[in-house]
């Protein structure tokens, strides 16, 4: 029985379920909350079964419609895709539970179709095996995300959404032009085929530049991060969580895939070092800016800018030979998604409770909203990289990689980054314990909103205890094999 269940085409369902759910919730507005929750639960179940399938049978291949590449679209899932899918499903569930309480009755019917559509597009992206499908899914995600960002209905929200839209479209176009060049140069859009055919020609380098630039813009790596803080801060809290936790990771995933399979084997190392340098600057700049903020959501948004820098630092270390850094990439991406979404949900709770998110006036939130404060503290522990958390494990791997490579500059950046991160996290926590001079009216928060935040933060901590299992699953299909070296 179990064997049969495992062989069902879960990957297809991962895309179909949320799409159907989006349509149903659009057509049935009054029940949109329930439809949404049911759909997201199905997504999580599907990911679980897909995981069993991959653990049992290895990498998952499926040709849609039986066509097969290069004309048809293939679905492909290895350990890395699985990790991303799981991340989406878990964060998705937490955010969905939260959203049922956060949005009013007239907002919900507009939220759920867009959000479920984003999930469908994200799943499709993580399951894709060719670079043009990446473009399509990137655009789908981008347009839906922009619409979600504009939910705020304020001047800042519309302007932030507009800036985000322009940036994301620019990024997609740069990426597309790169795809065009790759197709023209090597005759395929399928990743596996391209990795065999690619050679170090000017066309490849032009494509590499364009694609990397486009993806870096979408992932908001310094200095192309200008659109992120306003977009992530002015969106409603569940949307901010989705943006910071999932959507920036989607373009990073594509970046990883293309560099691992196509560009990496052909590159000398100078370009990767540049990414590492930009990542280092992002860590310092983002953390420093976060420290300066007076409003909580902007602080969290700048924290995302910094954390993305860590991802690229790890990438650069890994490409220059420290294979343990891939573990860091995996861990940092996954735990950041969980912890950052928890943080944004906390900010939503604080806004809901007190009507504002000024850090100086948090006024003993620790006493009024203990669950929320604990959620923030736990998420903060993971983001800073304090033990015992998933973030600590990620930081450990990163430090190990930097020390093995004797990259003392990166070591220093990592440590200074931790200190700055601790500074801005504890700035918030300390005000949560302190009495403020400005009292404010308070609204009671539905319990599931607080618990969603806490459970996501707790998951980030829990990841710190299962590194061996997680890493062995991620290794299925050897996604991080570079030039024949398997980590």
């Amino acid at each position: 029985m179990m064997q049969f269940v495992i062989t069902l085409p879960w990957a297809i369902l991962l895309i179909l379920f949320p799409l159907t759910g989006a349509i149903i919730s659009f057509l049935w507005p009054t029940q949109s909350n329930k439809v949404g929750l049911v759909t997201v639960s199905f997504v999580l179940i599907s990911v679980t079964f897909l995981a069993f399938s991959i653990i049992e049978h290895g990498v998952y291949h499926h040709a849609i419609g039986g066509w097969g590449s290069p004309l048809g679209i293939d679905l492909y899932a290895d350990g890395l895709s699985l990790l991303m899918l799981l991340m989406t499903a878990l964060v998705g569930l937490g955010v969905s539970v939260y959203a049922t309480g956060y949005f009013s009755a007239e907002q919900s019917p507009r939220f759920w179709p867009l959000w479920l559509f984003v999930i469908a597009a994200l799943n499709a992206l993580f399951l894709s095996a060719d670079i043009f499908n990446y473009y399509v899914t990137l655009e789908l995600i981008g347009l839906a995300a922009v619409s979600l960002t504009a939910f705020g209905k304020s001047r800042e929200a519309y302007s932030a959404a507009m800036r985000y839209l322009l940036a994301t479209l620019l990024g997609s176009l740069l990426y597309l032009l790169g795809v065009v060049l790759l197709y023209h140069g090597f005759g395929s859009v399928d990743i596996a085929t391209l990795s065999e055919r690619c050679e170090s020609t000017p066309i490849l380098w032009a494509a590499l530049t364009l694609i990397s630039a486009g993806l870096l813009l979408k992932t908001a790596l310094f200095p192309l991060h200008f659109w992120l803080p306003s977009a992530h801060a002015s969106a409603p809290a569940p949307v901010s969580a989705i943006l910071s936790a999932l959507i920036v990771k989607s373009s990073f995933y594509i970046f990883l895939r293309l560099w691992l399979t196509i560009f990496g084997p052909l590159s000398e190392g100078a370009v990767e070092n540049m990414f590492g340098l930009l990542g280092a600057i992002a860590v310092l700049w983002g953390s420093f800016q976060a420290l300066r903020q007076t409003r909580l959501k902007l602080l969290i948004a700048y924290s995302t800018v910094a954390q993305i820098g860590y991802l690229f630092l790890a990438f650069s270390l890994a490409m220059s030979g420290a294979v343990v850094a891939w573990n860091a990439v995996v861990y940092l991406a996954f735990t950041h998604a969980l912890a950052k979404s928890a943080m944004f949900l906390v900010s939503g709770n604080i806004l809901y409770f007190g009507g504002h998110d000024r850090i100086m006036n948090l006024d003993r939130i620790a006493q009024h909203l203990p669950i929320t404060t604990t959620a923030f503290a736990l998420a903060g522990v993971s983001i800073i990289g304090l033990p015992p958390s998933g973030g600590f494990i990620g930081k450990w791997f990163l430090l190990e990689a930097a020390l093995v490579q004797e990259q003392w500059g990166f070591v220093a950046i990592l440590l200074i980054g931790s200190l700055l991160t601790a500074a801005y996290i504890f700035k918030v926590v300390s005000h949560a314990f302190t009495q403020s001079s400005l009292p404010h009216d308070s609204r009671p928060i539905p319990a599931h909103m607080e618990w969603a935040a806490l459970l996501l933060a707790f998951a980030a901590i829990l990841l710190g205890f299962f590194s061996s299992s997680i890493l062995s699953v991620v290794g299925i299909g050897y996604p991080f094999e570079l030039n024949g070296v398997k980590p």
């Binding site: 926590v429 302190t434 061996s468």
Partner: protein, 497 residues
């Protein structure tokens, strides 16, 4: 089912689970909260005693949990671990009783006792850590869970004190992490081994080893209040007295000292550390701290601050004992872990009594208080005399062994430091005693409360009396087979022979 592998885990849970349950309790459920707390205390104590007996009989208690692909979290019950754990659990019992009395009627007690229990969880974890990464994890956990206790009062002043605390401790934690990972890349293991595990690291890594040592010592030195990393400790006195008593006299500060002991004995190995030229500078730094702390204490009028600087000074005795390479000095240093803990907690309990009952915060307000609160001041006197090093109180035993150890290791200058600091100790403790016993009482105390028919509430009175008796007992009965001194001699033997 091999119970031996689960006992260390249960010890951790015996304070962790009550903490979680206490968090969930409403403020008013006083009885249930006290019950849960005391159950946790007694179960922890019982398990520690159980392990004591078991280790004597040859049992091996070890819990392992895979953390990273090649690195485990390890909890192991060895003699040093049991010593520290026993100290922490007994003092936790006494401080819990004290805290219940002290915080009667204060707000946010569920939060307080919850984090209090978590501090114990972290301290027990630190004691039983079997390798450097487990130690690091519990050590950082201690940093985090002690924070809400420091900022408990919710004032801006408390927030700033907490900020200073975090600044120092997180910085120390970062140094620790760097040292640990670096060491791991060189040795491939982090298991605490008597005489150290850096044997296989080659000559070419000399610079790395020295740097790692400095990083680890600095990281631990922040909590152990080693000059110049001690700045957070006097500021942290803003916390309620039970917090100052347990954490700053016992848990947090001792965890730092304990870390240094572990690093020197079971990471580097004391003889290898001496070979690398690392122990002498550390001894000098410890000596500087001893003198500096005592000098600063002379100038403090606030009682808790004077005690804080005294702690800064006294903890470095432990470090000094460890840094002078020799078995007798080791005994002196490690046994001071226990002795100083017991004496200092007595002093802080008494300070808390004076503040709660009479509103006394400054030494200048203490005239004649010995007549008003004789039992409290007797306990204080015992603690103070022990700090100075007057026999037969425990402090004398530690200083005696330190002095003997210095002679044995050809470090005669240490004796000068010992004498000098004892004189300074007398300089800042004896005037207090004089004031308390021999000066006339003022007409009115700063802020008197009626706490019962005895000089103060029984829950505030009994704990310091018990700890004072322990201080006296550890000194008088030091030669008996069950004293801390005998236990420490066993530990020293394992390291040197």
């Amino acid at each position: 089912m091999n119970w031996d592998t689960l006992i260390p885990f249960f010890v951790i849970m015996s304070s962790f689970l009550p903490a979680l349950m206490i968090f969930a309790l409403a403020e008013e459920r006083r009885g249930l909260r006290i019950t849960l707390n005391l159950i946790g205390v007694f179960v922890t104590l019982a398990l520690v005693v159980f392990m004591f007996i078991g280790v004597y009989q040859g049992h091996h208690y070890e819990t392992r949990l895979s953390l990273l692909p090649d690195l485990d979290m390890v909890l192991r019950a060895g003699p040093l671990a049991l010593l520290f754990a026993a100290l922490s659990s007994v003092l936790w019992l006494l401080t819990t009783v004290y805290a219940i009395g002290y915080l009667e009627g204060s707000p946010h007690r569920s939060r307080f006792f919850g984090f209090f229990s978590l501090c114990i969880t972290a301290t027990i974890g630190v004691s039983f850590s079997g390798n450097l990464i487990t130690f690091l994890i519990f050590y950082e956990m201690l940093t985090l869970v002690a924070y809400p206790l420091i900022v408990h009062r919710g004032t801006e002043e408390a927030r700033l004190a907490g900020q200073t605390y975090l600044l120092y401790t997180i910085f120390g934690g970062t140094l620790l992490l760097l040292g640990t990972v670096w060491l791991y890349t060189l040795t491939g293991t982090l298991e605490f081994t008597p005489r150290g595990f850096i044997d296989d690291v080659g000559e070419e890594h000399y610079f790395a080893l020295v740097s790692i040592f400095i990083l680890l010592i600095a990281g631990f030195g922040v909590k152990a209040a080693l000059v110049p990393l001690h700045g957070w400790l006097p500021r942290a006195m803003i916390a309620p007295a039970p917090v100052s008593a347990l954490l700053h006299a016992v848990a947090v500060v001792k965890a730092g000292a304990f870390g240094i002991v572990r690093v020197i004995y079971e990471v580097f190995g004391v003889e290898k550390a001496a070979l690398l030229g690392l122990t002498q500078p550390l001894a000098v730094l410890a000596a500087i701290t001893i003198i500096y702390g005592s000098v600063m204490a002379l100038f403090q009028d606030d009682l808790k601050r004077r005690l804080a600087y005294s702690t800064v000074s006294q903890v470095s005795y432990i470090i000094l004992g460890v840094a002078i390479v020799g078995p007798i000095a080791t005994i002196g240093g490690v046994v001071h872990l226990v002795h100083q803990g017991v004496m200092k907690i007595t002093l802080f309990f008494c300070a808390g009594n004076l503040a709660e009952t009479l509103g006394i915060h400054k030494i200048s307000e203490m005239n004649g208080v010995g007549r008003r609160m004789p039992l409290t001041m007797t306990a204080f006197t015992i603690g103070a005399l022990g700090m100075i090093g007057i026999p037969p109180i425990a402090g004398f035993v530690s200083k005696w062994y330190l002095g003997l150890g210095a002679l044995e290791a050809d470090q005669e200058w240490v004796i000068l430091i010992l004498i000098g600091s004892s004189l300074l100790n007398a300089g800042y403790f004896l005037p207090i005693l004089y004031r308390a016993w021999f000066l006339p009482t003022p007409d009115k105390w700063p802020d008197e409360h009626d706490l019962g028919p005895n000089e103060t509430s029984l829950m505030l009175l009994i704990p310091p009396l018990i700890t004072a008796l322990l201080a006296l007992g550890f000194g008088l009965l030091a030669a008996s087979p069950y004293s801390p001194l005998e236990w420490v001699k066993l530990i020293s033997r394992r390291e040197f022979y």
